[in-house]
Chain length 314, copies 2
Amino acid sequence: MTLAQLKVFVLVSRLGSVRAAAAALGVSEPAVSQALAALRQHLDDPLITRAGSGSGSGMELTPAGRRVVTIASQMVNLAVEAEAAVRQSNGAAELLRVVTTSTLAQSIVPSLLQAFTARAGGIEVSLGVATTTEMAALLEERLADVALGPRLPGLDAEAVMRYRMTLVAHPDLRVNGGGLAGLRWFVDPTGPDPLSDVGALLARHRVPASHVSVFANEKAAWSAAAAGGGVAPAIDHMVSAEVDRGVLARLHSSDVPVDLLLHVNSLGAPRRSRAADKLRRFTRTPDAMQAMYRPDAGVPVSKFRPPVYVTLWS
Amino acid sequence: MTLAQLKVFVLVSRLGSVRAAAAALGVSEPAVSQALAALRQHLDDPLITRAGSGSGSGMELTPAGRRVVTIASQMVNLAVEAEAAVRQSNGAAELLRVVTTSTLAQSIVPSLLQAFTARAGGIEVSLGVATTTEMAALLEERLADVALGPRLPGLDAEAVMRYRMTLVAHPDLRVNGGGLAGLRWFVDPTGPDPLSDVGALLARHRVPASHVSVFANEKAAWSAAAAGGGVAPAIDHMVSAEVDRGVLARLHSSDVPVDLLLHVNSLGAPRRSRAADKLRRFTRTPDAMQAMYRPDAGVPVSKFRPPVYVTLWS
DNA sequence: TCGCCACCTAACCGAAGCCTTATCGCGACA
DNA sequence: TGTCGCGATAAGGCTTCGGTTAGGTGGCGA
């Protein structure tokens, strides 16, 4: 019984799927399946089984599994706590692990974190990308300290800023009879995640999967849209320069632009790290606002080469 | 950072010595030292250092070490709890791990445990031997559920029975001018442990180490005494047969025979296992009393061949 | 100053952990 | 009835763990 195995088990039970856990950990699916098998053998109990014994119906804990998952979760948390305790005792830099969606990781979040590290000394920030479902599980398991994105139910969430998502395209593009759903859509890797901003947009417009092209990052999607032949979702104030230069134009419909809220999510006050607390406080300052609205402050796109959607901390 | 490493660290810090921890775990001393080194490297902190940087002065936790022990201890406890939870959920036999002193392990305790397992169904008992100092640490770390022996401070102790420790020798042996300290003493492996019954007896009589011979078990010590040339401590009612047969005779002095109390020690009620609770209750019954006073009920001596003083549960 | 005691380090070795790719099993669903 | 999705299993390789024995180091006491 190793800590890694316990971490895997907890993550599988929280995400309800081996595949999802593998993705969240950034490893292959057999790796997860095998860790689970080892734990099952060691404890001599299936712990978690396929529910409908078919696909799609999720998984289900055995009685023993239910008891173990709570204990295992505590152990994983304590392991993180131990490392943090040492780091803090020795005055080393605190570690703040932030997760966000792929879309936000390319636009708003990097400049926010850059401003934060400059302001609050002695904190080392690392940024990871995850789907919305994963974000909650990652926070619960203390694999991340803060999640920036939509409001996560069951966690301590706080609205930070309002941002507008628009659709952009080549200025000459005309929408024909089929409506927006008839066009080609160029999206970043959050597109396939139905809970993400972009995924929700695709769902609302009932865009068939065959019309969607996934790009490594948002900028690549705009470029494709600027070249003509399709539309791309974008965060409004990040494309203002391109719109001003006439390279792109905003499209309008009943659904776009749409105003969204960026939240800071973390565990409740007693359970979250000091660094997480500091970031929460920082997001309320004018400095933070200014950083988030600065359009050109993105990190170099190269940092987000595929596979973007998988990041992990050991 | 593995659970085994954490267990080692906690045990070292509780016993205050690498050697003692190695003995308690039944492994060589470098094994412990190395596990500690791995943890130190991983956490980048010495965690625990020699106090006076000399021999005998014990060890001392660093600030980070102090914080880590408490966390590590919880983790180790939770690991045990997880396994117990599964076992219980599945109706498998509960596991009761008992530690006792070497002296008692050869005499009173086996017949007690034998009676207990016969009475309380579905409990699997395993017996280990440890020094008095180790017993407390083993209970704290949940490496054992119950300790049978002297009262352990800081734990939930309950007196179970009174037993008498006598000195036996060949019937013809006469004590000369030097008193008892001038004789050869034949003792079992608890002799070198100054906190044990036998060790305390040696200390009170100021027996020099050169006069002490350590035998693999108590019966071997009696045999040597019966052959003449020395004395051996023994639990009174276990040698009554030999005394009746004239093979051995009891010696008397201001200090011997001495009456001692056997205690059941375990963690406090909320923290101890159900099986531990059952054993505690059983010790209050007449059946338990009868079993403990039955002189011939020892387990075969072969089970206690050296190394006796080492015990091991993984 | 010699030797002992307690801890650390080195070197080696087998077992287990943990990752990969490839393949199988099995419901669900068109 | 194929085939798709998803989990389990097989096989293979690298790394780490955890154990051993042997030898090094540095106070402390006689």
